[in-house]
């Protein structure tokens, strides 16, 4: 490389410390995994444990990938939990067994693709709405998605009349609950989504635009990027991912009700923050997001294994997100 190193520019750090500071999320994950392995005397490394972890975290992974991209553009999305809940209910309503008398469409038998189509469209439309409100309505993302959160919740209660949407067809449940050899289907879907998101963020113009908008929206506009259109795109993509999450979640649980996916926004935002997606915008990777999801996963698993009350687990999760954002802000705080 002919571009020379100048006096006064900052030399990249070398060695182990540099590796740790660059891959904090990976180092954290591996240390926690080893710690858990020691505490469980190796049981957490056995395949059934790993498999359970993958099943438990898959749906969250979709939500995390979506909100992770939004945070890269320096936005936020609080509507995740209730949008996923609404999607799960819509999808479930088209997958109920035809002989179930309490079904929303009793006596009707829909093709297997319909619940997915309806679910993904519902999620996508909510994402589109969020994006339009933020980009063209110029609402703060925080407030816009807080509003759509309530809208989604209202729709869910109206649509289901606050009842459980249960008795789903086995063929539908198998899509979520089945496995390919030892690997659960859900993990395969996540893997496929990861590849798509990786290509999007790493190999497309739009992905680079997301980083640019999050890094400096004004500079992005000056550089000819259509900031509004790209913002709508990122929220819509996230909505589609929430749609997939909702459809799969309904299949995994075999039902949907008003409590399905409650609090998932917190899980997803916590996961990507632990995974190194910065609230300052313009920073984050697909692999980081997945590592974040797995990190929170093993923390949950560990606490359950150690017999920590679920109420305390909630408390711990709150502290984790606060600590993660605190360190994130310390690391990237703009020098004024």
């Amino acid at each position: 490389m002919a571009a020379k190193t100048a006096a006064g520019t900052i030399e990249p750090k070398k060695g182990l410390r540099a590796f740790i500071s660059k891959n904090t999320n990976l180092v954290t994950f591996v240390s926690l995994a080893i710690l858990l392995g020691l505490l469980t005397r190796g049981r957490s490394f056995e395949w059934p444990s790993v498999r359970n972890l993958m099943i438990a975290e898959s749906v969250r992974a979709f939500a995390a990938l979506g909100v992770g991209m939004i945070i890269i553009t320096r936005g936020i999305d609080l509507s995740i939990g209730y949008v996923v809940c609404l999607v799960a209910s819509v999808a479930a309503s088209f997958a109920q067994t035809s002989d179930y008398t309490a079904a929303l469409y009793a006596g009707r038998d829909f093709p297997l693709w319909l619940p997915f189509l309806a679910g993904i469209i519902t999620g996508g439309l909510f994402g589109l709405l969020n994006g339009v409100l933020v980009a063209y309505g110029r609402l703060p993302a925080f407030i816009a998605t807080l509003g759509t959160m309530s809208v989604a919740r209202g729709f869910q209660l109206i649509y289901t009349k606050a009842a459980v949407v249960g008795s789903l067809k086995d063929s539908y449940k198998t899509i979520s609950q089945g496995s390919l050899g030892p690997i659960p289907n859900l993990a395969l879907y996540v893997a496929a989504a990861c590849v798509v998101i990786w290509v999007l963020l790493r190999h497309t113009k739009r992905g680079t635009n997301f980083y640019a908008i999050g890094g400096n929206a004004m500079a992005a506009r000056v550089s000819g990027i259509n900031v509004e259109r790209e913002t709508v795109a990122v929220y819509t993509y996230a909505g589609i991912l929430y749609g997939i999450a909702g459809c799969l979640l309904a299949g995994r649980l075999g039902l949907a009700n008003a409590l399905t996916a409650n609090g998932m926004e917190l899980d997803a935002i916590a996961a990507v923050t632990v995974g190194g997606v910065s609230q300052t915008g313009g920073v984050g990777t697909m692999s980081g997001m997945v590592i974040g999801v797995l990190t929170l996963g093993i923390i949950n698993y560990g606490m359950t294994y150690l017999g920590v009350d679920s109420y305390y687990q909630l408390l711990v999760k709150g502290f984790i997100i606060i600590a993660a954002v605190y360190f994130d802000m310390k690391k990237y705080a703009r020098r004024s």
């Binding site: 571009a3 100048a6 520019t9 113009k205 400096n216 000819g224």
Partner: protein
């Protein structure tokens, strides 16, 4: 005021202040007499605002002392200064528009009424005190009116009243007439005379010659961080003032600009900003291989003009022609498609992506030209091209993957030039291209500009530095308060001639 015995109410003696690489103030001494209007003049960057920031404790001076009413003083904040009787009326008003006049005046020190252990705002006292204050200054402003509903000049009068309410002995006014009409300015002068009659000293910062001769008793001139001198206004005329403001040798050096001026590239006809306070009816043209400088004082609307040409702001009238063809530029995308590039004046605010790599910072505006058939980015080509451009401009960086925030200002600027060269523009607009970069890097930027002009690019350079305008431009176009007051050929462009056009207020 009862300090009649003192000759000076405020003395700033031997004030020096440096920033990394810049000597902003060099042993500056300013002495202000009570009951006088003391004008402070100088070019952009002469050090006037730095001096005032030292007075108000926003900057800490490296050496020198401030003596207020005979005793050494040191203020740590504008509030400190205010309480000691030194206040500032800013160019941009800083009030709370949704609150009333009296609430604004007593903000932060509201009179309280005690009932038992509770304290409540004493609205009546606030109102009465404000009325008395207004009457004493001969101002006709209702104390219960909403601040935001008043005209700019009345809001300014309120700020002056607030200063007086602090028992001010020195009031600093920074370009107070910049957004006032003629009648309003006349009224402002009446208020100022009212103040000086009470023994208050006014430091009046302005570029408008006519005002200085109308209102000021004494004038101090600053240049390049030094105090050039203080004169009674009666002893000096406009020509002498201009000479004192700009009279420096051309110490900077510039590479020769040897380009062949070719055909018309850009024509701007009757362009008006949609903001009525901004520029109006601007006409100019730009040829192939030409460097057109745009000069003017702060508030001349130079940046507004170029960002409007680039589609970042709306225009209400006029047309833009590129290569003889009328174009509609509604966004930067349109401008880029027409071969126009803009390097903004605010490198951090609207230039760099601090946390992203040098490569992405270079390529971000031209990613659309580096897609393969599947519309994926061709990383290898992008990296090669970014590196080639940055090497050609001799950008110094540890690697192309380094975050741009770790580069020096001059190198960041070179990355931004690379970014726009990658879009292959015909017209390159550079707003303050050498702001905040050191002398050596400046020369390199000038050389790059000269090379680009030689290779047939057309350049518009907005600059506040006179030597730069004169040294680099084929022609210098001068704006004053949004009006195009003239264009000077290279042979006519001198610091004096530019300053004369730049101060040609209506």
């Amino acid at each position: 005021m009862s300090d009649a015995g003192l000759e000076y109410v405020l003395e700033m003696v031997g004030i020096s202040k440096s920033f990394p690489g810049v000597h902003a103030l060099d042993k500056v001494t300013l002495r202000v007499k009570p009951g006088m209007v003391h004008a402070l003049m100088g070019e952009n960057g002469a050090g006037k605002s730095t001096l005032m920031k030292c007075l108000f404790g926003i900057y800490r001076e490296d050496e020198g002392e401030i003596i207020l009413k005979g005793s050494r003083s040191k203020f740590h904040s504008a509030k400190d200064a205010l309480e000691a009787g030194v206040s500032m009326i800013h160019q941009e008003l800083s009030n709370v528009p949704e609150r009333s006049v009296s609430e604004n005046i007593w903000l932060g020190r509201e009179p309280l009424r005690r009932i038992g252990i509770l304290k409540f705002l004493d609205h009546r006292k606030m109102h009465d005190d404000t009325s008395v204050l207004m009457k004493s200054l001969d101002m006709d402003i209702n104390s219960s009116e909403r601040m935001g509903g008043l005209s700019i000049s009345k809001q300014q009068a309120c700020e002056i009243a607030k200063a007086v309410s602090y028992d001010a002995s020195v009031v600093v006014m920074d370009e107070p007439s910049s957004s006032l009409t003629e009648t309003e300015t006349a009224h402002l002068f009446k208020i100022i005379r009212n103040l000086t009659a009470k023994g208050v000293a006014v430091i009046y910062i302005s570029h408008k010659m006519s005002e200085i001769f109308q209102i000021a008793d004494e004038v101090s001139i600053m240049r390049d961080g030094k105090m050039i001198g203080t004169h009674p206004v009666a002893d000096i005329d406009e020509d002498a003032l201009i000479k004192l403001m700009v009279g420096r040798d051309n110490t900077h050096r510039f590479p020769p600009v040897e380009s062949r001026i070719g055909e018309l590239r850009l024509q701007v006809k009757g362009l008006c900003s949609s903001n009525p306070r901004s520029f109006r009816n601007v006409n100019f043209e730009l040829r192939r291989g030409e460097i057109l400088g745009i000069g003017g004082l702060v508030g001349a609307q130079r940046t507004e003009l170029v960002v409007s040409i680039f589609g970042l702001r709306q225009v209400s009238a006029g047309e833009i022609l590129v290569d003889g063809e009328r174009v509609l530029v509604r966004s930067p995308r349109d401008a880029i498609a027409k071969g126009i590039a803009l390097i903004t004046e605010d490198r951090r605010g609207s230039g760099i992506f601090p946390l992203l790599s040098v490569t992405i910072n270079t390529a971000v505006a031209s990613l659309g030209s580096y897609l393969n058939v599947a519309r994926f980015l061709e990383h290898r080509k992008i990296e090669a091209e970014s590196q080639k451009l940055n090497e050609a401009l001799r950008t110094k960086t540890p690697s192309m993957a380094t975050q741009i925030q770790n580069l020096s200002g001059g190198n960041q600027q070179k990355v931004l030039v690379s970014r726009w060269l990658m879009t292959m523009p015909d017209i390159l607009i550079m707003d303050e291209p050498t702001r905040g970069i050191d002398v050596g890097a400046k020369y390199e930027i000038y050389s790059i500009m000269a090379d680009l002009a030689r290779n047939g690019k057309s350049i518009i350079m907005v600059s506040s530095e006179m030597p730069e305008l004169i040294g680099m431009s084929h022609r210098v176009m001068v704006l004053c308060a949004g009006r195009h007051t003239g264009t000077l050929e290279k042979s006519e462009a001198t610091q004096e001639s530019i300053m004369r056009l730049a101060t040609q207020f209506e």
